[in-house]
């Protein structure tokens, strides 16, 4: 099937303006007749629901948490990028665009990225007006910090809780619209399936997580704002509830899943301490502004207290390998450098999977008070988890799965190949290519929700008769039956193994074979093992309790069942992409110095996978990527 | 007028509104308690001093002063009690299922017993009024308790107090009541600044200390009168 990304014609810098000009308008009276279903209430979901309601659309918004304010966007620490150039350090829309395309290792769609850079400035204005308490200078102007992958200071932040503050801002906008009656909110409600009618997404099936009731909701368009799939690895920095169900079910209804192998490994997480561990905690990347990453030069030093290792015996790996970016090298590069050092037997801490992040020099230079002001809450968090003080000894960090760049394929209007199904934020694939730069996820979620979808959705709706499909349609009945049967199936299985034990095994397998570094042999092995595990899950899982009440085990079972299927596509995509780029590193494809080796000749495309009914044999559709503005080059941060 | 009344009823119906009334009436009662103590301490300045003071209160504004004060104080007490009882009922209703374990980390015992110290003080006030103001169950209205002061026949407050506290049960009840008042004030004094929106991080510790000092002063001052009469035989 040919993929039309509907990129507007004209020069790059004019595309979005032109597209806004050309986009359809719906008159205010008619907007009220359209119902839009928004699944997810993170940055993308809340901002989209609020803005669409402001415009006059009727919105229903769903989230599995007990309140829309708890979506996992809330955990983003570091900041949000915007090309404001308040620092007068040479930033511009074009530079942010350039950095993002390059940071994505030339696997993002240029037009989308340019639009993202353009609207980034509006996001900051919007958030400030909502009362988001960004950090300020004494004169009352907004403060900025620098972040990985950029040589300008363009990141806006609210202490170490930027995601929280932006989400609370979007949540407040959502509340305003709920109070005004434009949005109906469904908390503790999980989406189980997308309903398509004549090939268009016209509704969803949900389960009320309190009463267990499975219900159908019809609408004129569906927006999936359901985040990434990082929890396929079991251990990740994602919240426990993050899942792939919404996007995976949409995929099984026909939506293409693009580039699932692009997973981001965040370099600065707290290392794993034992097999009971349920999640990994990220320490904001902003720490790398002042922290220096090192490991002992000599293997015999790894057991020594770090303070006893003299300067000359320390290997500052990032500064040595990437002198111009140093400790601020992009995430994928920093992560791999840490892995290499540990593979080399120079890792520190339990299990040898860790590197030091040292603040001694910064504390000496700026004083402990300044450092506490900058990172106090992060240092506290570290101490709570490890029992160690980062003021006195270096932190130990190790990479962990953090973000997923892949997601449902969308065109320039953020609509998937399934008409009516729009995908926003981390759930789509479009803006970050093979690697996302720090402080860009918040930017994308809000750009999609506040500024892109409110314009582009009309291009679909204008061709639709509002309310033409209701939940009485036979397709809804069919979908309801399928979902009810699946729920009953889990409860009836009565096997021997808990849902978590399967999830843990799947996660370990995927991390091992399809994590920071991948190769053909490992992926082939994983592809053999995943279907076996899935089969065992079907026959040997135990889900206690009943389906018509609050039952967390049942919720997990549905999510893990989807991860089991999704994992196979993830590995297939990784196997197909015979190159290394961004977060996808195939050990077969590297330069002699260990740098990722892209293959622009054969793989300069977005891989959009189509479900065929056979999980092991999806069809590959390719969207070729062309680079008009930023010329394909080896991504170098040396 | 009715718009203002509506606003007032909404104000009273709200949690913060009631609390502000409790704080304001508490402030009035604190002032009263202090004035009352200063007056009472005149007993140590001799018979004439306190009798003169008593007479002054009785005759201020041609005798209406004492009634204005009485009505005002009664109103303050009434509002203070009705509002706190209502708040306490709401508070109990706000947690129908109690905890198996519930640890207080920072709050004082006094703060947890405000309603009980308050209601005991109410019982005491009623007794106190019957004792000295209405003068029931004693001979304080008889001529034996009148005295000549600068040619006028006035109440011999001095003798009333001395005789009153010579009876052990009354003294003991007074002491208990003063201890509870002390406890009540130790939380109530600084608390009212918080409710009225005045406390700051810097002033709060001062209000706290001032509250303890004030509560202590009220207790020590009043107890000194009772103890010196009852145990040391002052004035007898």
């Amino acid at each position: 099937m040919p993929l039309d990304s509907h990129i507007p014609s004209g020069p790059m810098a004019m595309k979005w303006s032109k597209h806004k000009q050309d986009s359809k308008l719906i008159n205010p009276k008619n907007k009220r007749k359209f119902t839009i279903l928004v699944v997810g209430s993170g940055l993308a979901g809340s901002s989209a629901a609020a803005t669409l309601s402001e415009l006059g659309y009727k919105v229903k918004c769903f989230c599995f948490q007990d309140s829309p304010r708890r979506a996992h966007s809330i955990a983003a620490q570091g900041g949000i990028n915007a090309a404001k150039n308040y620092q007068n350090d040479g930033d511009s829309v074009h530079r942010l665009f350039y950095d993002t395309v390059k940071g994505g290792d030339f696997r993002a769609r240029e037009a989308n990225v340019h639009r993202l850079a353009e609207v980034s400035v509006n996001i900051i204005d919007q958030c400030v007006a909502q009362g988001v308490p960004f950090a300020r200078e004494y004169g009352g102007m907004l403060a900025n910090r620098s972040f990985g992958g950029a040589q300008v200071s363009r990141t806006f932040y609210a202490r170490g809780q930027t995601g929280q503050q932006l989400l609370l801002g979007a949540y407040s906008a959502l509340n305003k619209e709920i109070a005004a009656g434009g949005v109906q909110m469904y908390p503790r409600t999980e989406m189980l399936d997308v309903v398509t009618v004549d090939g268009h997404a016209k509704g969803i099936i949900t389960r009320n997580l309190v009463t267990g009731k499975i219900e159908a909701h019809a609408g004129d368009a569906v927006l999936l704002c359901t985040g990434g799939y990082g929890n396929v690895f079991y251990l990740s920095t994602n919240a426990m509830g993050c899942n792939v169900t919404a996007t995976w079910r949409a995929h099984k209804k026909g939506a293409f899943f693009a580039n699932p192998c692009y997973t981001q490994i965040h370099p600065t997480c707290i290392p794993v301490s034992g097999d009971y561990q349920s999640k990994l905690t990220l320490m904001s990347e902003s720490l790398r502004n002042d922290g220096r990453v090192w490991v002992p030069k000599k293997k015999e030093d790894i057991g020594k207290p770090p303070g006893q290792i003299p300067e000359a015996d320390r290997d500052y790996i990032l500064e040595r390998k990437y002198p111009s970016f140093g400790n601020l090298a992009p995430r994928d590069i920093s992560s791999r450098a840490a892995k290499e050092a540990c593979d080399d037997g120079r890792g520190v801490g339990p299990g040898g999977r860790g590197v030091y992040l040292d603040f001694a020099e910064a504390i000496q230079q700026f004083g402990a008070k300044t450092i506490a002001e900058r990172y106090g809450n992060l240092f506290d968090m570290y101490e709570r988890i490890t029992g160690e003080s980062a003021y006195k000894q270096p932190m130990r960090i190790y990479p962990a799965v953090h973000y997923t760049m892949g997601g449902l394929w969308v065109d320039y209007n953020l609509m998937s190949n399934l008409p009516g199904l729009h995908v926003l934020g981390e759930a789509n694939f479009s803006d970050h290519g093979a690697n996302r730069l720090g402080a860009s996820a918040l930017m994308q979620g809000l750009a999609d929700g506040y500024f892109v979808i409110p314009t582009t959705i009309a291009n679909y709706l204008v061709h639709q008769k509002p309310g033409s499909v209701t939940a009485e349609h036979p397709e809804f009945k069919k979908a309801l039956e399928v979902c009810t049967a699946q729920t009953k199936g889990f409860l009836a299985c009565k096997g021997k193994r808990s849902v978590d034990s399967f999830h843990r095994e799947l996660g370990l397998l995927v991390w091992d074979k399809c994590g920071m570094a991948r190769d053909r042999a490992g992926l082939t092995e994983a592809l053999k093992r995943i279907p076996e595990l899935r089969e065992e899950f079907k026959t040997n899982v135990i889900v206690p309790g009943s389906g018509d009440a609050c039952n967390p085990e049942l919720e997990k079972a549905g999510r893990v069942a989807d991860f089991m299927e999704f994992a196979e596509l993830l590995c297939l995509d990784a196997l197909n992409r015979e190159e290394s780029c961004g977060g996808h590193f195939r050990t077969e494809h590297q330069y002699p110095d260990g740098e990722a080796k892209r293959d622009d000749e054969n793989f300069c495309y977005a891989a959009a996978w189509e479900y065929t009914g056979d999980l092991g044999k999806p069809t590959l559709n390719k969207e070729p990527l062309s680079f008009e503005e930023v010329h394909l080059a080896v991504r170098s941060y040396k | 007028m009715s718009a203002v009344f509506d606003s007032f009823s909404r104000f009273y119906a709200s949690s913060i509104g009631k609390k502000i009334l409790v704080a304001l009436t508490g402030l009035i009662l604190i002032g009263f308690v202090f004035g009352h103590l200063v007056g009472n301490l005149l007993i140590f300045a001799g018979q004439d001093a306190i009798n003169e003071y008593g007479h002054l209160l009785q005759t201020a504004l041609h005798g209406s002063g004492v009634w204005i004060a009485r009505v005002g104080l009664l109103l303050a007490v009434l509002v203070h009690i009705v509002a706190t009882v209502s708040l306490t009922k709401q508070n109990n209703a706000a947690r129908p299922d109690k905890y198996g374990q519930h640890k207080a980390q920072v709050s004082s015992k006094s703060s947890h017993t405000m309603i009980w110290s308050g209601l005991t003080i109410l019982a005491f006030i009623i007794y106190h009024l019957l004792h000295y103001t209405v003068r029931i169950g004693n001979d304080f209205d008889k001529d034996a308790y009148k005295i000549d002061l600068h040619g006028e026949k006035v109440h011999n407050v001095y003798k009333m107090v001395v005789d009153g506290f010579s009876w052990a049960p009354a003294s003991i009840f007074y002491l208990i009541a003063m201890a509870l008042l002390c406890s009540h004030l130790s939380h109530g004094f600084s608390s009212l600044f918080q409710t009225l929106g005045i406390s700051t991080d810097k002033s709060e510790p001062l209000f706290k200390k001032a509250g303890y000092a004030f509560a202590g002063l009220i207790f020590v001052g009043n107890a000194a009168i009772v103890l010196s009469i009852w145990l040391l035989g002052y004035g007898r």
């Binding site: 708890r70 900051i124 202490r159 809780q161 906008a173 305003k176 905690t281 | 709200s14 949690s15 209703a93």
Partner: protein, 262 residues
């Protein structure tokens, strides 16, 4: 790393039915595990024995989403200061300890199951005024309105609230004043929030009262239990803002009365 043997007293309840404490033995708990990981281990064992696992709310497990709750040994989020349950680690307990685990209890937080409670009252309070009415795309440049660092920092102090409900759980009156005051206070402090200040204050306080929370008696247990150390000075400010707003409403010219939310 050492192992702990613990005795748990866990509250079990189905919505609308009376609950009870269940004694659960929890041997061999690694002391590096978090409290919720301990609960995971306990649940795995219950499932293996064919019993119903304990339902509890949790999500981010890094102390920011505010989903986890639990009254642990009589204190919301357990004994550590400035810590959510998910950040509490078992090294803070000793082998042989008895641990009481209960839901946050308040009439306004009805139990859904076991330790899971319904905190949607907080959302309704927010809807009654916890926002600045600004349309997407309409604002001026972000730097057009200078806001002093001190003001921005103060607003951030209040904005750090994660809406977990520990303040309600800790208060002997189940009062929500710390939550409401932090939410209203953040916006009432900022110049952007000034135009709607009175309306917001009245609306949120009235909705809070409607939800059946208790009243503040200035004991500051909320502040002591707050995982984000929100100061009770925000309550002082809310009291003040409320008094001003009510006087303006009573005596001013404004014809409109701020109502509660839905």
């Amino acid at each position: 790393m050492s192992q702990l043997n613990l005795h748990l007293k866990v509250w079990r309840q189905n919505a609308g039915q009376p609950g009870h404490f269940q004694d659960i033995e929890a041997p061999d708990i690694p002391d590096h595990a978090s409290f919720l990981e301990m609960m995971d281990i306990v649940n795995e064992r219950l499932i293996a024995k064919g019993q119903d696992p304990v339902a509890f709310d949790h999500d981010c497990r890094e102390g920011i989403c505010g989903m986890c709750s639990m009254q642990i040994n009589g204190v919301p989020h357990g004994p550590e200061k400035a810590t959510t349950t998910c950040q509490l680690h078992m090294r803070k307990f000793r082998t042989g300890d008895t641990i009481w685990i209960e839901p946050f209890r308040a009439k306004a937080f009805p139990v859904i199951k076991d330790l899971v409670v319904d905190r949607s009252a907080f959302d309704r309070i927010q809807r009654a005024g916890g926002f600045i009415t600004v349309r997407t795309g309409s604002p001026q440049d972000a730097n057009a309105l200078p806001i002093g660092k001190e003001v921005a920092d103060a607003a951030m102090d209040a904005a750090a609230c994660i809406g977990c409900g520990a303040c309600v759980a800790a208060c002997k009156n189940a009062s929500a004043m710390l939550f409401v005051s932090a939410k209203a206070g953040q916006l009432n402090t900022l110049p952007q929030g000034k135009p709607e200040k009175d309306r917001r204050t009245l609306g949120m306080v009235r909705q809070m009262d409607k939800e059946g929370f208790g009243n503040c008696t200035n004991q500051y247990e909320c502040e002591a239990a707050c995982p984000k150390e929100i100061s009770v000075r925000w309550i002082t400010k809310l009291n003040r803002d409320y008094a001003v707003a009510i006087v303006k409403e009573a005596l001013g010219n404004s014809p409109k009365v701020a109502g509660g939310g839905d």
